[in-house]
């Protein structure tokens, strides 16, 4: 059990910089998820922690030890790969015990560890099979079992669920969370799937273009994104962004989207936004915060009417798309109150959930 620390870690491949000086502190027993679009450097970061890639500069600590020059086998880590990387010619038992056998563990100890891990993962009856006789989900379990038996300081997962179908992915996600609750090992998990990130992580590290955009607990990330990238990346459908002008009239602020549409800024935000008065900004509001207008309204909610462009029924909700300032905006409404395409809908925006972004540095104000 150990904490992991990255200090100014840089990785260059030839001339391209994949990771640009990141700092990250991972607590003991913490479940950290690195998430971001492909090419953001998350996998490279994981591979540097594993020792499969050398750092160009910077330091990596596992426990209290600097591991920059320590080979993977001596870092006391275990890794689960996207394509499982099971040894095809070995049985499940041999796959799981391979590392222990190389380290010359006593046979009885190996047996008890493998059986224990197999019990945790529910693969006891598969121990004599070979990988080709297993389904994708079973292979994934074996790959996790191989990691668990080694009782490492750190678990590393590199997009472990990407090769599974949607249903199995959800099931294995829960499984991984359960295993972490049972085994309680520091875990670094890489994924491009924000749902996986949100559901699994104690803290999520959002990466973009080789840098860390934000490190936060899932809910904080959702409610208080620090940058435009995080605001747009977390949440599905993505947050709506619209250019706006923060207008000031007799002490009150309002978000002016165009001549016909402007929203009052809630009083609780006025102080925070005042320095940006009369500036061109970016207005961000998630689809779930634009709903059908309800009788009576609510404090901080503003109602408006727009012609509906496209309607997408999802069952539990209906997505309604309309155009403002040339941007497509998505709203999530109750299916019972959903308008039809071409109609004019009366919608309500929850401005308590709004975000304003300074386009100069893409930071959320």
């Amino acid at each position: 059990m150990a904490q992991v620390a990255l200090r100014n870690v840089v990785k260059k491949f030839d001339r391209t910089e994949a990771v640009r000086g990141i700092n990250l502190d991972i607590e003991d027993k913490e479940f950290i998820v690195l998430v971001g679009p492909s090419g953001c450097g998350k996998s490279t970061t994981l591979r540097m922690i594993a020792g499969l890639e050398e750092t160009t500069s910077g330091e990596i600590y596992i426990g209290d030890a600097l591991v920059n020059d320590v080979p993977p086998k001596d870092r006391d880590i275990a890794m689960v790969f996207q394509n499982y990387a099971l040894y095809p010619h070995m049985t499940v038992y041999e796959n799981m015990s391979f590392g222990l056998r190389l380290k010359k563990f006593p046979k009885a100890e190996i047996k008890s560890r493998v059986e224990n891990a197999a019990r945790i993962l529910g693969i006891t009856e598969l121990l004599d099979r070979r990988p080709r006789q297993l389904s994708g989900g079973q292979r994934q379990r074996v790959a996790m079992g191989r990691a668990i038996v080694r009782n490492p300081k750190v678990f590393l997962f590199d997009e472990p669920l990407s090769n599974l179908d949607a249903k199995l992915r959800v099931q294995m996600r829960t499984e991984i969370k359960k295993v972490h609750q049972t085994v309680k090992t520091t875990t670094v998990y890489v994924t491009h799937d924000q749902v996986e990130a949100m559901t699994l992580a104690d803290r999520v590290v959002v990466m973009n273009a080789g840098t860390i955009e934000q490190i936060d607990a899932p809910n904080d990330l959702y409610h208080n994104p620090k940058t435009r990238f995080v605001a747009g990346f977390i949440g599905s459908p993505a947050m709506n962004f619209l250019t706006c002008r923060l207008a000031e009239a007799s002490g009150a602020l309002s978000v002016r989207l165009n001549d016909g549409l402007s929203f009052p800024v809630p009083a609780s935000r006025t102080a925070r936004y005042r320095p940006y008065a009369n500036r061109e900004l970016l207005f961000g509001l998630r689809p779930e915060h634009i709903t059908e207008a309800r009788a009576g309204g609510a404090p901080g909610h503003a109602e408006f009417e727009v012609p509906v462009d496209v309607v997408e029924p999802m069952g539990m909700e209906t997505l309604v798309y309309f155009i403002v300032n040339g941007f497509e905006v998505c709203a999530r409404v109750n299916p019972a109150a959903a308008p039809n395409a071409g109609e004019t809908a009366r919608l309500s925006a929850d401005l308590n959930q709004m975000h304003l972004i300074d386009p100069k540095n893409d930071l959320v104000i």
């Binding site: 086998k73 394509n83 990387a85 040894y87 590392g99 380290k103």
Partner: protein, 298 residues
């Protein structure tokens, strides 16, 4: 045919009929060419077998059809070949030379292919291509310089010269085959082994060789075939009967000036061809089928 007749009036279903007709034609053509090739390749061994079971008088008898076997078959050729010639010695020598060559080839090309295919280092790509290029130089060009080298080493007229020289023919191609096999193994497999604590030697023996076994067997068969059937080098380097191998030995012993002892030549040819035949037809097929089924897909 009945299906076609039944669906003749229904345009939508006649499409399926045309598909199956298409397939039937493809099958007919496949069988036609397969049978053609089988006849083409099986005719020489058949002729050898027929001739081997006749004595000299029957072979030279102009009034009988040389393609037809004579009953009862004679075993005089076998007894003469085994008793009166050095054929058993050639056979043993060939077995020794081939086994040594295959062993040396594998000892060199497996680690060579592993390092060239999996361990990226400066020049590994160029080197891998270079290895293959050396294979393209024919032995008929090389046997004179090789003769000088073998002579300088004092190995002329010894089958150990062949053990030394044959790997120059087998190693490049075997290395090349196995580079391909090793490269086809996903890199996560060695990374997983690396994290599990394997060093490069353990990785090679515990992961790569078992997983690439079909490739290894293919390479072994190749090395076996080359050293079993090589003709130019033994012809050039070896003169004594007790050092000769099957290929050169059969020709030098059984063809005396312009006298061809056809019965014995054909018997010798059949016996010489038997080991590769047995290995190809039974052992290796069985072996590869058993292994490839589970080996390469993770």
């Amino acid at each position: 045919m009945t299906a076609e007749a039944a669906t003749a009036g229904i345009p939508r279903l006649s499409f399926r009929g045309s598909l199956s007709r298409n397939r039937r034609w493809a099958l007919i053509l496949s069988y036609f060419f397969l049978i053609l090739f089988a006849i083409f390749f099986l005719t020489p061994p058949y002729y050898a077998l027929v001739t081997a079971t006749k004595d000299s008088a029957q072979i030279s008898n102009q009034s009988t059809d040389p393609w037809m076997p004579v009953l009862p078959p004679t075993s005089t050729n076998i007894t003469a070949l085994m008793g009166a010639t050095d054929f058993p010695i050639y056979f043993m020598n060939t077995v020794i030379v081939t086994l040594c060559t295959v062993a040396i080839t594998m000892l060199i090309s497996v680690p060579a292919a592993f390092s060239l295919g999996r361990m990226k280092f400066w020049g590994s790509g160029v080197f891998a291509t270079g290895v293959f290029l050396t294979y393209l130089v024919p032995d008929s060009l090389l046997f004179i310089p090789m003769f000088k080298i073998v002579g300088a080493l004092g190995l002329l007229n010894s089958y150990w010269a062949l053990v030394l020289v044959y790997p120059t023919l087998t190693v490049p191609f075997c290395t090349w085959i196995m580079i391909g096999y090793f490269q086809s193994i996903p890199k996560e497999l060695d990374e997983a082994a690396l994290i599990d604590g394997a060093n490069h030697v353990q990785m090679l023996f515990k992961i790569f060789i078992p997983v690439a076994l079909p490739g290894l067997i293919a390479a072994t068969i190749f090395a076996f075939t080359v050293s079993w059937s090589e003709f130019v080098y033994p012809m050039a380097f070896i003169f004594s009967s007790n050092q000769l191998v099957l290929t050169a030995g059969t020709v030098t012993t059984l063809v005396k000036a312009d006298v061809y002892q056809w019965g014995m030549i054909m018997t010798a040819a059949l016996f010489a061809a038997a080991p590769p035949l047995i290995i190809y037809a039974f052992l290796m097929d069985y072996y590869i089928a058993g292994l490839t089924a589970g080996a390469t897909k993770g």
